[in-house]
């Protein structure tokens, strides 16, 4: 294990140190006193685990391809932007536009998230990007979703579970929501269905891993029922254009 004190360090220098540690083959890297440094884990490959103490800056784990990041506090916007593989665990809340264009890997958030989470997530071949949100989510959850799995739990939350325009522009992938979903909040493309056996397996596999990360019990979460949201029209814009 190696510790890097990030106090007062500009992102360029901090990320250079992290890259060097990963290249040296360090399995666990702890970043102390992080506050606002951008781009931690960007484009990083390998299988290291990086523990971040303090609030990391935007674009955490953008283009990341392998490592695991555990953030001990809240995190900001644009986590897992176009991420390819690996895992990001946020113990607190996180901001807007999470998992934009994410193609693989996992993003586990214990608390609430902001607007446009899971926007334009994609699956590809064997890659199934997965985002699990423990708390609530803002508007445009799963906008343009093209693949992958997006799970919203609403654990111990007080406010509304999810905002408006849920899954607007959705044309692939699956959203699982714990509790009931108001059709009025959904995009025109979205259908609300009950889960079949395959869905149950996907959901349980994802949540088992999620529970492990945060010391939660799967059966507590599963006490409440889930709804499945998928695109029901394959060509929602078919009549938009005159040829």
């Amino acid at each position: 294990m190696v510790e890097i004190n990030a106090s007062g360090t500009y992102y360029k220098e901090l990320n250079q140190k992290v890259r060097e540690a990963v290249e040296k083959g360090e399995k666990e890297i702890v970043l102390k006193n992080v506050n606002g440094q951008y781009y931690i884990g960007d484009g990083l490959r390998g299988s290291s685990t990086i523990v971040i103490e303090g609030v990391p800056g935007n674009d955490l784990a953008a283009f990341m391809d392998g490592p695991t990041l555990r953030i001990k506090s809240n995190a900001q916007d644009n986590i897992s932007n176009t991420m390819n593989s690996g895992k990001v665990i946020v113990e607190g809340n996180a901001g807007d536009v999470l998992g934009y264009g994410m193609r693989g890997g996992k993003l586990h958030i214990r608390g609430d998230v902001g607007y446009r989470v899971g926007i334009h997530m994609k699956g590809n071949k064997k890659q199934t990007p997965t985002i699990v949100v423990g708390g609530t989510a803002g508007d445009f959850f799963g906008e343009y979703m093209a693949g992958g799995v997006l799970i919203l739990l609403g654990l111990d939350s007080t406010g509304p579970l999810v905002g408006d325009y849920l899954g607007t522009g959705m044309h692939g992938g699956t959203i699982f929501v714990r509790g009931e979903v108001d059709k009025k909040l959904c995009g025109a493309e979205v259908g609300i269905l009950d889960l079949d056996d395959d869905d149950q397996k996907v959901l349980k596999d994802a949540l088992t891993d999620y529970c492990k990360d945060f010391g939660l019990k799967l059966e507590d979460i599963m006490k409440k029922g889930f709804k499945k949201l998928i695109p029901v029209s394959s060509r929602p814009y078919g009549n938009l254009y005159a040829y």
């Binding site: 360029k12 960007d42 264009g101 334009h120 699956g123 005159a242 040829y243």
Partner: protein
Amino acid sequence: MFKSLAPPEYLATIDREKCIRCKRCIQNCGWGVYSWGGDKILIDTFKCVKCLRCYHYCPEEAIEIKDNPTKFKQNAYWSFNNIRNIKKQAETGGIPLTGMGSDMPYPILFDNLLIDACQVTNPSIDPVREPMELRTYLGKKPSNIKVEKTKDGKLKLSEPMPPQIKLDLPIIFSPMSYGSISLNAQKVLATAAKASGIVMNTGEGGLHEDLFPYKGNIIVQVASGRFGVNPEYLNAGVAVEIKIGQGAKPGIGGHLPGEKIPLEVARTRMIPVGTDAISPAPQHDIYSIEDLRQLIYAIKETTNYKPVSVKIAAVHNVAAIASGVVRAGADIVYIDGFRGGTGAAPSIIRDHLGIPIEHALAAVDDRLRQEGIRNEASIIAAGGIRSSADVAKAIALGADAVGIGTAALITMGCTTCGKCYTGNCSWGITTQRPELTARLDPEVYAERLTNLIRAWSHELKEILGALGINSIESLRGNRERLRGVGLDSFTLDILGVKPAGR
């Protein structure tokens, strides 16, 4: 189904006496205009787009494609297209689409600018037998450099230069994605770029493995759909381009429907076969200029600081936007004028949004100079470059290089018919239908495109020679060597060009 009241634009006709019924027209037409009627070729002229594929492949020269003489009553205000579009919209309730750059008769400023030549007071230079340099480097330049002397008296740079992209002449191939054009068309671009010492741009559709050998001549693009983007992709080329907008459809996204996404396109875009490929209008991690800075540096962190280009459409406030882009850390600003091409755009957008590249380029170059940051980024001007004269004029107005798209496609057979969005291109360019793409032999057409670049290179040298300068950097931003004809004083002021005669 009633017959459309929007009359056909063209009449495909066959001289029945010359026709030998070889059916080559049926094979060649991607639009299904021709069919076999048992004893003769049948014609559905409503489908004809005048791409002339059939004309070129008819061995008897029996085919003629005429503009439909049956027009609506002539009206100086209500054009044929106005009326036709209304009828189509009334029939479908949809948005009429189009391909290519706008063909509307807005003034073409390039055609109102003339280039200087030397007479007596300074000499012209023989460009064929004396040195004439077109080499151009794209990228951020420091305002000044420090040179020190080593112990053995040799010169040495105190600090390394920022990374630069070397071009043998100031032209690049504009971004056109695999998906919007065929893989063979991209191969033509890549091969010709390598042979010509310039670069092509992948567009937003990812990088197909067949193009890996051309990595040194490729800029990879990141757009709102993030197709095919991973760390390997970002590091594959000589630079990364963030596409914010496109001249033909500023502020508008893209949508490649699932049925146009066969296996190879899907693989390259890293999405499942048959799923829609949506490029949202904005990049959803960029809602403000500081967000652009964030993405630029996320890419730089991932690529160990390769140059980052930012492509924007020429819109009203382009000078301020470009200044922000440069201050956000872009090494290259790519400005696409409203005449710029597209695979598919609503015609209402293409024909009515944005501004011409000439105005935009002049305004951006001026603004960056006023702010003392012109060296911070190179400018690529694109959107309707038709000839080496347009290239020279754009460079004199202030561009470091120009992007050409349509001109490159024309070397592959394109006749600017404007129906790219149908996916039926009979020349195998803007289609993924295997029987059509197979027609575009990458080797044959790469040679033609390379020929075009060589020809323009010779022409540029002739222009420089006439101007009495032997290096392209002395033309760059040298508006003193341009004069305007028939331009009002406001326009001249924006262009920073004197009227002819002064």
